[in-house]
C-alpha cells in the first residue's frame, strides 16, 4: 500500500514537472534567443545559454520598427479601453441590477444574445463603419468600438451586483441619495473584486488583440505591438530571429507582470465565470 502511494506520487510529480517544463520551455527559449549573437543562433545543436550575452537584438528592434511608439500605442489604447469598459459597463450593470424600467428583461436578453455573435461576423460591417467615421489609422479606430462598454463586462458586473444585499443601500436612500450617489458611493466600492477580474481580463484581451487592429491600422506609427511584430516577421527581417524574439519578449512581458500581480483574480475569475456562479 505504501509503495503504491509512493509510485502514484512520483508519477503525479513526473506528469506535472513534464507539463511545467513544456509550458516554460518556449518562454525560456524566447528569452535566450533574444540575448544571443547571430553566430550562436544558427548552430546545431542549439546552445542553451547565450555566450556572450548581447543586447544587440533589442537595439536593432528599436531601429527596424518604431517599437517605442508601438509599445506606447498598445499601452494607451489598452488602458483607455479598460478604463472605459469598467466605468460604462458598471453603469449599465447597475441599471440592470437595481433600476426598474419597462423592457428591462428583453433588453438584458438582447445583451446576452450579442455574446453569441463571434467577432468575425461584425468584422466587415464594423470596418466599413469605422472607415465612414474617418477613424482608419487613428486611436479611435481601436478604442471607439470598445470604449463605451461591452455586453460581457456588463453581464458579469450585473451578476456580481445582484449578490449585493439591497439593505446596504438603505441608509443612503433614507438620506435621500439619488441613483448616481448610490452607484458611486455604495455600489462601486462593493464591486471592486468584480471590477478587478473584468479589468484584468480586458487588459489581457485587448493587449493581445490582433485581427481588428490589423484591419483598421496600416501606418507603422499607429500599429499596436501584436501587429507590429507580425509585420516585422513577414518583412525581410523575418529571419532575424534574435530581433523577433526580443520583440516577443517585450510584448509578453507586461502581460506576465499583470498576470503575476493578479493571478488570484484570474484563476478565480475563470473558475467562477466559466462554470459555477
Amino acid at each position: 500500500m505504501k509503495t503504491r502511494r509512493l509510485v502514484t506520487s512520483i508519477l503525479l510529480h513526473a506528469v506535472l514537472l513534464l507539463g511545467a517544463f513544456s509550458a516554460l520551455l518556449p518562454f525560456f527559449w524566447m528569452v535566450i534567443t533574444s540575448l544571443k549573437v547571430p553566430e550562436q543562433m544558427f548552430v546545431m545543436p542549439p546552445q542553451w545559454l547565450p555566450e556572450p550575452v548581447t543586447f544587440r537584438n533589442y537595439e536593432q528592434l528599436f531601429t527596424y520598427i518604431p517599437f517605442a511608439r508601438q509599445f506606447f500605442n498598445t499601452l494607451f489604447v489598452t488602458v483607455t479601453i479598460v478604463a472605459g469598459q469598467l466605468l460604462f459597463s458598471s453603469m449599465g450593470a447597475y441599471a440592470f441590477a437595481r433600476l426598474k424600467f419597462p423592457g428591462r428583461e428583453p433588453l438584458f436578453l438582447l445583451f446576452l444574445a450579442t455574446l453569441m455573435v463571434p467577432s468575425v461576423v461584425t468584422l466587415i460591417p464594423a470596418f466599413i463603419l469605422v472607415r465612414e467615421f474617418g477613424w482608419i489609422n487613428t486611436y479611435m479606430a481601436i478604442i471607439g468600438p470598445y470604449f463605451l462598454g461591452s455586453a460581457f463586462a456588463t453581464f458579469l458586473l450585473r451578476q456580481f451586483m445582484l449578490t449585493i444585499p439591497e439593505e446596504l443601500e438603505e441608509a443612503a436612500k433614507i438620506d435621500g441619495a439619488g441613483h448616481f450617489t448610490i452607484f458611486r458611493a455604495v455600489i462601486l466600492p462593493l464591486v471592486k473584486p468584480a471590477l478587478a477580474v473584468v479589468g484584468v481580463f480586458s487588459f489581457i484581451y485587448f493587449w493581445n488583440d490582433f485581427l481588428w487592429p490589423l484591419v483598421v491600422i496600416n501606418s507603422e506609427a499607429m500599429k499596436v505591438l501584436t501587429v507590429g511584430i507580425a509585420t516585422l516577421a513577414s518583412s525581410h527581417y523575418g529571419t532575424d530571429w534574435g530581433v523577433l524574439m526580443a520583440g516577443s519578449v517585450l510584448t509578453v512581458l507586461p502581460l506576465v507582470i499583470v498576470f503575476f500581480l493578479a493571478q488570484r483574480q484570474i484563476v478565480e475569475g475563470i473558475a467562477t465565470t466559466g462554470l459555477k456562479g
Binding site: 463571434p118 490582433f210 475563470i270 462554470l275
Partner: protein, 307 residues
C-alpha cells in the same frame, strides 16, 4: 429591504410608478452601453446580413446579387478547402486539448505540493499574446536550427520541415493551440473536479474499486457538464483560429493550412470581395450559433453564458 418588499407586494399601480420614476436614470446609465453594442454589434450583424447578398469591392457602389454569394460558395474549392482544414484542425485540438488539460487537472487535484505554482506556470501560455507565442513556436519548429528537430536528433530521429510540409503544417499549428489553452481548460476542469462530493470516492474505495474504475464510473460521468462546456468552447475557438495561422504559415504550404477565418480575411481585405466575405462570415455564424445553442440547451442559459 423595506423598499424591495413594498414594491413586490404593493398593487401594480405603485410598481408602474417606480418604473416611471426609474426609466430616466436607467436610460442615462445604459446609454453608453447601448451606443457601443448598438453601433458596433447590432447594426453590424444586420448590415453584414444584407452585405452578404451584394457584390462590393468598396470602390464602386454595392450591387445586389441575391443569393449568388451563397450559391458560389457551393462550387468554391477554396471555401470547401478552408472549411475542411478548419474541421481537421478542430478534430486535432479537441481530443488533444481535452486529454492534456484533464490529465493536468487530475494531477493537481490530488493534493500535491506546489499546486499554486504549477497552476501559474500552466496558465502562463494562455495570458501571453498569441502573436508572440506563434513567433516563438515558428522558431522552435525551424527545420535547420529549431529546438524541436535538435531534441529529436538527440534521440536519433530525423528532423522534419514542420511548417513547410503539407502533411505536418496544420497539426504543428494545432499543437501550439493545445499548448496555449491547456492551462485555461485545466482551471475549468479543476473547478469541476473539486465540485464532485468526496463521499462518492469514499464509497468507491469501500467497494474496492480500482482508481481506473473510479475514474470511469465516478469522475467522468460527474464531470460531464465541464467536459461538454470545455469541448464546445474549444470548438468555437478552433473554428475561429486566425492569429496562429497568420504568423506561422500564412495559410501555406499551398493552401494546406488556409483555415476558414484566414480565407474570410483574405477575401475581404486582400481581394476586397466584401460581399462574399460577409456571406462567409454568416455561414460561420450559423455553424458557431448551432454549437452555442447546443451548449445552452444542455447546460442551461446561465452556465453556457459563463455565469
Amino acid at each position: 429591504m423595506s423598499v424591495a418588499v413594498a414594491t413586490s407586494i404593493s398593487p401594480p399601480r405603485r410598481l408602474s410608478l417606480a418604473m416611471r420614476r426609474d426609466w430616466l436614470p436607467a436610460l442615462v446609465f445604459l446609454l453608453p452601453n447601448l451606443v457601443s453594442i448598438g453601433l458596433f454589434t447590432l447594426i453590424p450583424v444586420v448590415a453584414g446580413f444584407f452585405l452578404s447578398f451584394t457584390s462590393w469591392d468598396m470602390l464602386s457602389d454595392p450591387q445586389w446579387i441575391g443569393l449568388d454569394n451563397y450559391v458560389r460558395m457551393l462550387s468554391d474549392r477554396q471555401f470547401w478547402n478552408s472549411l475542411g482544414n478548419t474541421l481537421v484542425y478542430t478534430l486535432i485540438v479537441i481530443p488533444g486539448g481535452l486529454a492534456l488539460s484533464l490529465l493536468l487537472a487530475l494531477a493537481l487535484n490530488s493534493k500535491i505540493k506546489g499546486t499554486a505554482i504549477y497552476q501559474a506556470i500552466f496558465f502562463l501560455p494562455y495570458v501571453s499574446s498569441t502573436v508572440a507565442i506563434a513567433l516563438v513556436w515558428k522558431w522552435i519548429y525551424h527545420p535547420d536550427y529549431g529546438v524541436l528537430n535538435s531534441i529529436l536528433g538527440f534521440f536519433g530521429i530525423a528532423g522534419v520541415d514542420w511548417l513547410t510540409n503539407r502533411g505536418t503544417a496544420l497539426g504543428s499549428v494545432a499543437v501550439v493551440q493545445i499548448w496555449q489553452t491547456a492551462g485555461y481548460n485545466m482551471v475549468l476542469f479543476l473547478a469541476g473536479l473539486r465540485a464532485i462530493p468526496k463521499e462518492y470516492y469514499e464509497a468507491a474505495k469501500l467497494d474496492g474499486s480500482t482508481p481506473f474504475q473510479t475514474f470511469w464510473s465516478i469522475t467522468v460521468p460527474l464531470l460531464m457538464p465541464t467536459i461538454f462546456f470545455v469541448t464546445t468552447t474549444s470548438i468555437i475557438a478552433s473554428f475561429q483560429v486566425f492569429n496562429l495561422i497568420y504568423v506561422m504559415t500564412s495559410g501555406g504550404p499551398g493552401t494546406s493550412t488556409k483555415v476558414y477565418v484566414y480565407y474570410l480575411w483574405e477575401s475581404g481585405f486582400s481581394f476586397f470581395k466584401m460581399g462574399y466575405a460577409s456571406a462567409l462570415a454568416y455561414v460561420l455564424f450559423v455553424i458557431i450559433l448551432a454549437v452555442t445553442l447546443l451548449q445552452v440547451r444542455f447546460l442551461g442559459r446561465n452556465r453556457a453564458m459563463g455565469a
